[in-house]
Amino acid sequence: MEKVLLLIPLAPFLGFLVNGLIGRKLPKPLVGFIACFGPVLAFYCAVAIFSEILRTGEPVAHSYYTWIQAGDLTLPFRLLIDRLSIVLVLVVTGVGSLIHIYSTLYMEHEDAWGYARYFAYLNLFMASMLVLITGSSIVMLFIGWEGVGLCSYLLIGFWYTNPDYANAGKKAFVVNRIGDLGFVLGVFTIWYLFHDRPEALELANINKYAQAALDNGELATVAALTPAALLLLLGATGKSAQIPLYVWLPDAMAGPTPVSALIHAATMVTAGVYMTARLHVLFEIAPHALVVVACVGMATAFLAATMAVPENDLKKVLAYSTISQLGYMFVGVGSGAFGAGVFHLMTHAFFKALLFLGAGAVLHAFDNVGDIRQMGGLREKMPRTALIFFVGCLALAGIPPFAGFFSKDEILFGLLNNFLHGHGPVWLILYVAGVITAALTAFYTFRLFTLAFLGSPRGPIERHDHAHDAGPAMMIPLFILAGLSLVGGWVNVPLIPGAQNFSHYLEPIFGAHGPASHAAEAFGLALSTAVAVSCAYAGYSVHLRNPTFSIREGLAGAWYQLAGVKYRVDEAYERVFVQPIMAGAAALWEFVDVGVIDWAVNAAASAASATSERVRRIQVGLVNQYAFYLAGGAVIVVMFVLGLVGE
């Protein structure tokens, strides 16, 4: 079993090595095959491990070798898959394999080197993400964390000859790095608190020691867990694009669309949610940590939804939508309903990947023009694409019986539940905000669909005539994902007794979480459905009649316009952070690098030069003078020999 376990991250990694080193020389179909083989094999192994876990009920783990041994720090290279991580492994490998297959057709226009490079990076990403999920210690998780950050940078800036795209990649990496700093400081804090206990950096042990600290009444340790948790949260906001570090995700749409689907919808951005769910005990015990998580998540979800409404670029709408849905996941986790957060993670992977790949199909056929103001009526030319896109929109908007409805509703109900259990009015505020956000989500989702696929064409007619459904390599993954978006939520149907399979499955990890009352749950279901359907219809009908609909007057108008420029957050960051740092760097360069270091080096050279200039004046060419020096030297030497001078 341990070989199967190792194969999960290893198979894509080997694909990376082969494609990275010699892929340039191989024919494209072979490169594509090698690239898809790794993730598919990993998926197969994941299924094997899943059945093993179901059979034994125990996690599968193995230490392969001792990686670090330094003082009291022992870090083995240890992979562990339990009930929680197998869910993510299956999602990552499954959806990842579909996206790999899709990419073989999507990226066909690249040259051999670009094609090989793309798949090498994609495979490396898969390997890193799987290391992140299956790593048994927080350091192993961080290895994968960094790896996916690197691959994100490489893939966003894939077409690096375009400076805008390259800058987008750079921005993603830098913002991620800031989060990583928080993460690392969190790890240091945990180490500082627990380093005298054995294997303190294992994820399971962190939870165990936090619980032990609480049970033993170590108040100082427990209080110190909050900064650790918040620092880890900062890392999660960087990776999962929450406030304040979300600004890289819309720019990341500069990368190829399958990259956006895989990394920025389905997998990498969920790493923060996974980390929080993994360390749920830590977050539960640290005072106020979970509330902060929930508030950050909800604020992000709400603001991102407002920014998605006026957005006109196809992929950027989906990007803001991703940020918003990630916020939902954080809210779910923050409310204590960790299972709900993971459930939404899974369903979101299905329908958001579907939507992105569908958008990719549109771009592929539409000459890479993503402005939805120039689309319209694509349903006639691309009927199958329109169908699957419709399915994805239904799931995203949270309309039953599609997947998004079940997971989103469970999160909202978790909030309501917390309020009803008396945990404070903040949860009611969060619940109301969540419902409003769901309304906005449905609205902009169907705005997008209507403007792109319905109505009459608004752009140049040649581009319209050229639009067509893509080939099977792209359509088959789309249909598979559409199917999953339909049935994916059925693993956890509320109210029907015995149908909450997903929650029961995760109970050994997160503990049981019964609802307060069936009435409240039914109320929540009805409210969510009503809101989703009505706002979806509103979005559809408003934009069908008036494709250029926007609000300009009054307070709503001001807000609409402000959301349209994304609240000028990027500009604010630029002014407050980026420019002072650049100015500081320029000053350092001028005064330290040029002024001190270069000056010192040049001064050494010119000192040598000046000294030799003076010393060479001794050589005058006059024999008498040379004889003089000779005699002088002889006198001194003889005086030394005779002992007249010298020590």
Binding site: N624, F628, A634, V635, V638, L642, L644
Partner: protein, 273 residues
């Protein structure tokens, strides 16, 4: 004050005085003559030091050959002209040289004025008498048993003794020095050889015109026709300069600038530089 003391004192005064004059005369011929005097005085001291052979060699070789060589060269370079009697060195150079020489003297004297030899007896003292060698055995006509023993050394400082020790104990040094002399001869011949275009000694006006032909490697001075054929401008031939000086200028110019004949003005300038 024994006889040897007086001799030593006189010889040393002559030596010091003559060498002082050597280094201060402007005319190098005077320096040469005074050098010979100093060398002769030194030869006297050598003899007083029981080195009779070397005293003779000093006169023969040093004063008789080396100094004469100096005289030859001075004559070759035509003394009395401005090139040989050079002006004095500037005062600072002479002063610093004097200081350095004085420093050397002090250092050397302090080396020699050691405690263990400071109050050495005079060489005429019987304690420092050179032992006389044993008498030579008279050679007999009888067959000698095996290898004949080496004869006892001759008297200290004589030619016989010197030859004995040199050819017996120091043969390698002797052979080596003969090689050095050979090398010196070869080098001197190559260095001093006359080349085409050199200023011939006979072409310079004044004393020594006839001596040029007898020099080692001497060639004939170039004739006027040769100079004109070599591309010398006609103005020089007509300039009315004395023949020797004109040739000197041309040859010097040719040395400096190669065949091609610069103008008379530049030739005149180069001669002055």
């Amino acid at each position: 004050m024994s006889a040897s003391d007086i001799v030593f004192l006189a010889a040393s005064i002559v030596a010091v005085g003559a060498s002082a004059l050597v280094v201060t005369r402007r005319n190098p011929i005077y320096s040469t003559l005074f050098m010979m005097a100093a060398l002769a005085a030194l030869a006297v001291i050598f003899v007083a030091l029981e080195a009779a052979f070397l005293g003779a060699i000093q006169i023969l070789l040093y004063a008789g050959a080396i100094m004469v060589l100096f005289v030859f060269v001075i004559m070759l370079l035509n003394p009395g002209t401005q090139e040989l009697s050079l002006p004095r060195a500037p005062a600072w150079q002479r002063g610093s040289a004097f200081v350095m020489a004085a420093a050397l003297l002090v250092v050397l004297a302090s080396a020699f004025y050691r405690g263990d030899i400071k109050d050495a007896p005079a060489f005429s003292d019987p304690t420092l008498a050179v032992p006389a060698p044993p008498p030579r055995p008279v050679p007999t006509l009888e067959a000698a048993p095996g290898e004949p023993p080496p004869p006892p050394p001759a008297e200290f400082g004589t030619t016989e003794r010197f030859a004995d020790s040199m050819y017996r104990d120091h043969l390698v040094a002797f052979e080596a020095i003969s090689l050095v002399i050979l090398a010196a001869i070869a080098g001197v011949v190559v260095l001093a050889k006359r080349r085409l275009g050199d200023i011939p000694a006979s072409a310079r006006g004044g004393v020594g015109a006839g001596a040029g032909g007898s020099m080692v490697g001497a060639g004939s001075p170039p004739s006027e026709a040769d100079l004109v054929a070599g591309g010398a401008p006609a103005e020089i031939a007509e300039a009315g300069l004395p023949r020797g000086a004109r040739d000197v200028q041309l040859a010097a110019a040719r040395l400096r600038y190669g065949h091609g004949g610069p103008s008379a003005a530049s030739v005149g300038e180069t001669h002055k530089s």
